[in-house]
């Protein structure tokens, strides 16, 4: 996943949470980058037709932007689920974030052949907990 994909994913999740345009500050916070860096990337994504940016209002993904963001989110879900189900990594959120920049979507597709991902993915992703809502339920059940 490249930087563009990571930004699109963050904007998509922020928009889902606030149910409207995402502020540059929220996006920067989610990605742990400076607002200046976030602004620069937002400008590039706007030029590429992936989002609309209105001053004082925020950022709104276009249909193409939403599609790419959902692909990126799905990739992230595959990595998280793979870390939990196959490698049994406890700190899977941190590691998934480190790996999403290195694991390409073609590789994620292969990893997907050995995990149990639900058909509604990535709609079941819980942005607040930074994990698939269904995976969290399974983890709770198995720890009982």
């Amino acid at each position: 996943m490249n930087t563009q994909a990571q930004y699109l994913k963050a904007i998509y999740l922020t928009q889902e949470q606030v149910d409207g345009p995402a502020s540059t500050g929220d996006i920067a916070e989610l990605l742990d980058v400076s607002p200046a860096s976030a602004n620069e990337m937002i400008g590039k994504l706007e030029e590429r037709g992936l989002l609309d940016h209105e001053k004082y209002k925020g950022v709104d993904l276009t249909d193409e932007g939403i599609q790419q963001a959902r692909d990126a989110l799905q990739n992230y879900c595959i990595i998280e689920r793979f870390l939990v189900e196959v490698l049994e990594v406890e700190d899977f959120r941190t590691e998934a974030k480190q790996l999403e920049g290195v694991i390409d979507e073609t590789v994620a597709e292969r990893l997907d052949t050995i995990i149990d991902r639900e058909p509604q993915c990535p709609d079941c992703f819980n942005a607040e907990d930074d994990v698939c809502g269904l995976l969290e339920v399974e983890a709770e059940v198995s720890s009982d």
């Binding site: 490249n2 196959v86 590691e95 480190q98 590789v107």
Partner: protein, 160 residues
């Protein structure tokens, strides 16, 4: 499309090598399963391809395991991945489907090693395994994956 992010620690390197091991195990298990399900004995060229893919993956896996061991991390048992492949495997694939799956396997592995090599080259981290030996192993495997893509493509072209 992937970003070249430097590998930042022994831990992250070991994790990526573990993922490489799993990818090889998936190839090995799927090749064996394809051979079993498609009656590859009727097609010697396909059978040879699947046999070669399985043995090459086993060899790559063993080379990666040595590196993971040197990093004092654990490997991923083949039996575990084989079980997961079996659980998700869809058996209704014909010869074309099998060839296409093998092509995806080889291409994916090539892309993975190519990205991993770039991420190691971009890193300043002093790993506890010798950097040159590490890159040498990965580059050799990447070359063999490239040859694998060519072998499957040739066989596909012969059948058109």
């Amino acid at each position: 499309m992937s970003l070249t992010q430097p590998v930042g620690s022994d831990h992250q390197l070991a994790r990526l090598l573990q993922i490489g091991i799993v990818l090889e195990e998936v190839v090995e298990a799927r090749a064996a399963k394809h051979a079993e399900e498609t009656d590859a004995s009727l097609d010697p060229a396909l059978r040879d391809l699947l046999d070669h893919a399985a043995s090459e993956s086993a060899d790559h896996r063993s080379r990666l395991e040595t590196l993971v061991d040197d990093l004092e991390a654990e490997t991923v048992p083949f039996e575990e991945i084989q079980m997961l492949v079996e659980a998700q495997y869809e058996a209704d694939e014909d010869f074309d489907g099998v060839l296409y799956d093998q092509l995806c396997n080889e291409e994916t592995a090539y892309k993975f090693y190519d990205d991993l090599i770039a991420s190691i080259e971009a890193s300043d981290t002093a790993f506890s395994v010798d950097r040159e030996r590490l890159l040498d192993v990965l580059r050799t495997i990447r070359e063999e994956e490239a040859d694998g893509v060519e072998e499957v493509t040739d066989l596909m072209e012969e059948r058109q």
